[in-house]
Amino acid sequence: MIPLSALLQGIARVLSGDLDGGDAYLKDSVAAGEIVSGPHHAIALAERSLLAMARGEWGEAEILASQARTVLRQAGIEESIATPLVCAVQARAALRRGDGEAARQQAVSAQRVRPWLSYVVPSMAVQARIELARVHLALSDLPGARTLMREIDEVLRQRPGLGTLVGEAEALRAQLARQRSSVAAGPSALTVAELRLLPLLSTHLQMQEIAAEMYLSPHTVRAQGKSIYRKLGAANRSQAVARARELGLLEG
């Protein structure tokens, strides 16, 4: 069995509502991943962890989530397309055992690589964000959850046929609409555009050069910069970079 094809089969079945059939394929994908590892292996483990959570088998879910993280570490791909989903399942497992701080750390790790998950990989982009939004909600971080919800809506607008994820997104949207909050947007509310800009702020490049690099207007990059500084509570670029490093949003 080729791990990637089994993974895609598994995800397709889960999205169509066939959870047991999907899990069988995901199990095959995990077994094949033992021979040829990579992001697909970690994703298969994370997907199986989510299925175990849905069945209420939290012990199994935690083991699978931890195995997914180990795969990323051993393959040297801790920042890959699989990372947000792996962080999400680890965060949900941490919440289950009452470790809010660990869940928060996982959410931050997911933020760093979230820009990689666009509508090009729609099911992954939506599923990881739904799980992460649930984590932010559980941590009473509504601005963070709402930022993710807007990104989910954007992906669904371009790729509407995502099976059961559409209903899950709808339920999350309704849950968020019932919440009332006026908390100021902090680091967790950094948008994908701002998360893309953040690493470039730590370089020697001037804002004009960054704009050219990102194919954006200099005006927009400056506006995004100000928004980043505000969300990080920084009064200039170097303070923002220092704060982002402190929070784990940038490499130390």
Binding site: P143, R150, R180, S182, V192, S217, T220
Partner: protein
């Protein structure tokens, strides 16, 4: 704090600073007659009406998003108040609102064919 940092913090609407140093507490209104989302949308409308700087529109729109308003609702505020604030104020508010959405108006306008 040096005047340079004070001016920088004002220029980005640093809420904590403005609240502590200028006594302008920008959090939720004391009397909770309006829900936070509605209050945030009203603030966007008022800032547009008084011709506030772009960064204030960006800040208030960002607040409205965090309070659960959608991009369509915030843009709808501009259209709804246009008859009473006029074309100039409404158009002037657009770049700040777009900034909060991460929407690059300039780049989109001048995109290569």
């Amino acid at each position: 704090m040096k005047y340079q940092e004070i001016l920088r913090r004002l220029a980005i609407v640093d809420e904590g600073f403005v609240g502590d140093q200028a006594g302008l507490v920008l959090g939720p209104p004391g009397v909770r007659v309006l829900d936070p989302r509605t209050a945030a949308l009203v603030r966007v409308g008022v800032l547009a009406a008084i011709g506030a700087p772009e960064v204030c529109l960006e800040w208030s729109s960002s607040h409205a998003l965090a309070a659960g308003a959608s991009e369509d609702e915030i843009t709808g505020v501009l259209l709804a108040i246009a008859p009473v604030i006029g074309l100039g104020r409404m158009v002037g508010a657009a770049p700040g609102v777009a900034g909060a959405f991460g929407y690059d108006i300039e780049a989109e306008l001048h995109e290569d064919p």
